[in-house]
């Protein structure tokens, strides 16, 4: 109830600001919302959304299937883990978006450049969370299994992987939240590959502020939906953990 009031009040203030011209070039929020509703059935906008989302999904998938096994491999051997960690800690703060100009040289197709940059960006949180998760595994549980004669693969599969799973899930959630940022950033800079960013640039050069804001509303909605989806999936997949 209070939340609805808050949203309504916020929209009213925005509407008034637009109608009274308090902020130059700001269209009333009703116009933006009507445009946003129109975009939901606009074929060219939907194909742009598709281009962005498919790049995000492909990049995330590649990052998961490479970075998680890499993290498992690097994390299981303590000497390797301790040697690799400083290198990882050193490389991680490098802003991945500074690689956009390089990626645009390496991949002439901007869709590929987008995916490559998403893979690079997503790999860090996945790798680090997997390695930290492995370091956090209960040593007694591992020793118990070893004591019963289980081999290293069985220990990894039955103890290490399940207790690392929540860390990996956190890594995936962080990765998801950055995919959209990276995708839109590449689309803004590298034309030709379509996507929400390309749509924004186009609407900007046509001076259609309502379309830009409407597309931004959809970008926010997509971000919200992705976060909700992965939080729900995490809760479902790791139900056994919440139960204890």
């Amino acid at each position: 109830m209070i939340r609805t009031l808050g949203v309504l009040g916020f929209l009213l203030v925005l509407e008034a600001a637009g109608r009274l011209g308090l902020i130059e070039a700001l269209p009333p929020v009703s116009v933006v919302l009507v445009t946003a509703a129109g975009l939901a059935v606009d074929g060219s906008f939907l194909s742009d959304v598709g281009a962005t989302l498919s790049a995000c999904a492909a990049g995330l998938l590649i990052a998961v299937v490479t970075a998680v096994p890499a993290g498992l491999l690097l994390g299981t051997v303590p000497a390797v883990e301790r040697s690799v960690r400083p290198l990882v800690e050193f490389l991680r703060p490098i802003p991945s978006l500074s690689l956009i100009p390089l990626a645009m040289f390496l991949w002439t197709d901007s869709h590929d450049a987008k995916i490559a940059l998403i893979v690079y960006t997503c790999s860090w949180p996945l790798l680090i969370n997997t390695m930290y998760g492995l370091a956090d595994v209960d040593p007694i549980a591992k020793d118990t299994l070893r004591g019963f004669g289980f081999g290293p693969m069985a220990v990894l599969w039955r103890v290490s992987l399940p207790s690392t799973a929540p860390f990996i899930a956190t890594g995936v959630r962080i990765a998801v939240s950055v995919t959209l940022i990276v995708a839109v950033s590449v689309e803004l800079l590298a034309g030709g590959g379509g996507g929400i960013g390309a749509y924004l640039v186009q609407a900007g050069s046509a001076n259609r502020v309502d379309r830009m804001l409407a597309a931004t509303v959809w970008a926010g909605a997509l971000g919200l939906a992705a976060n909700a989806l992965f939080t729900a999936a995490e809760r479902r997949l790791l139900r056994w953990r919440w139960a204890t």
């Binding site: 301790r82 802003p95 991945s96 960013g197 924004l200 001076n207 830009m212 804001l213 926010g220 971000g223």
Partner: protein
């Protein structure tokens, strides 16, 4: 200390491997580190590097400070007032879900090219994680702390801030990396000076070593800022670590 440093052996080895591999492969887009360093030295000697570096760093510092101050203040306020929090919660969730890069073209309409856009982008990118974490920290303050403060006539806000500090710092730590990212992308997108703009120029003239000089510089900046922040955090939260470890 020396034992800890010994684990860093992989960094020089990796740099050396990079040098050897790129040199023997003659990779055009991956120049060896020695070439990049030579180009950096050359740029420092022949060009006015400060003209790009100073605006970038100034905007980064001002934008981050503005957003961090606003984020902490708003977050603590919302965290202590359940009614206000309920009123604005949907907007906060939505606002932080919008990828900040998507707002760059919008900012281009409302602000002038250059510093205003960069500042807007950095502030928007930094604000949300700080606000959400501060809100979370201020919301869950032990009522015993507040009661104790009341008995001893301590100002309430100080107790709240101290109790929320670990969470606030968690948000601030995230925000340092975000500020750098927003600085880079906004300069790549719309700027007439700064590190990002210089990289776009290098890209345009296919000056690959100069482009890498930008990447290396931003990387070093990322590492240094991260280290600096961790040092400040360790000092500021020393009391907290001591308490929780005991």
């Amino acid at each position: 200390m020396i034992r800890r440093l010994a684990w860093y052996w992989l960094i020089p080895v990796a740099a050396l491997a990079w040098e050897v591999v790129t040199r023997s492969a003659g990779a055009v887009y991956f120049p060896p580190p020695s070439t990049i360093l030579a180009r950096m030295r050359e740029m420092a000697a022949t060009e006015d590097v400060a003209a790009d570096l100073v605006p970038s760093l100034a905007r980064l510092a001002v934008g981050w400070a503005l957003a961090a101050a606003a984020g902490v203040a708003l977050g603590v306020l919302l965290g202590r007032s359940p009614l206000l929090a309920k009123l604005v919660e949907p907007m906060v969730h939505f606002g932080r879900s919008v990828p900040p890069a998507a707002l760059l073209p919008v900012f281009l309409v409302f602000f002038k090219v250059g510093t205003p856009i960069q500042l807007a982008a950095i502030v928007y990118g930094v604000l949300w994680p700080v606000l959400v974490n501060s809100m979370d920290g201020a919301r869950h303050v032990d009522t015993q702390y507040l009661d104790t403060a009341q008995v001893f006539h301590l100002p309430r806000w100080r107790v709240v801030l101290a109790a929320a500090a670990p969470k606030i710092f968690a948000g601030l730590r995230l925000s340092v990396a975000l500020a750098l990212i927003m600085m880079v992308i906004s300069e790549l997108y719309a700027s007439s000076e700064g590190i990002g703009h210089r990289m776009r120029e290098a890209e345009g003239s296919v000056d690959i070593p100069a482009m890498w000089a930008g990447i290396v510089l931003l990387g070093v900046l990322g590492v240094v800022l991260n280290g600096l922040f961790l040092a400040v955090e360790r000092r500021a939260l020393r009391w907290h670590r001591g308490r929780t470890a005991a």
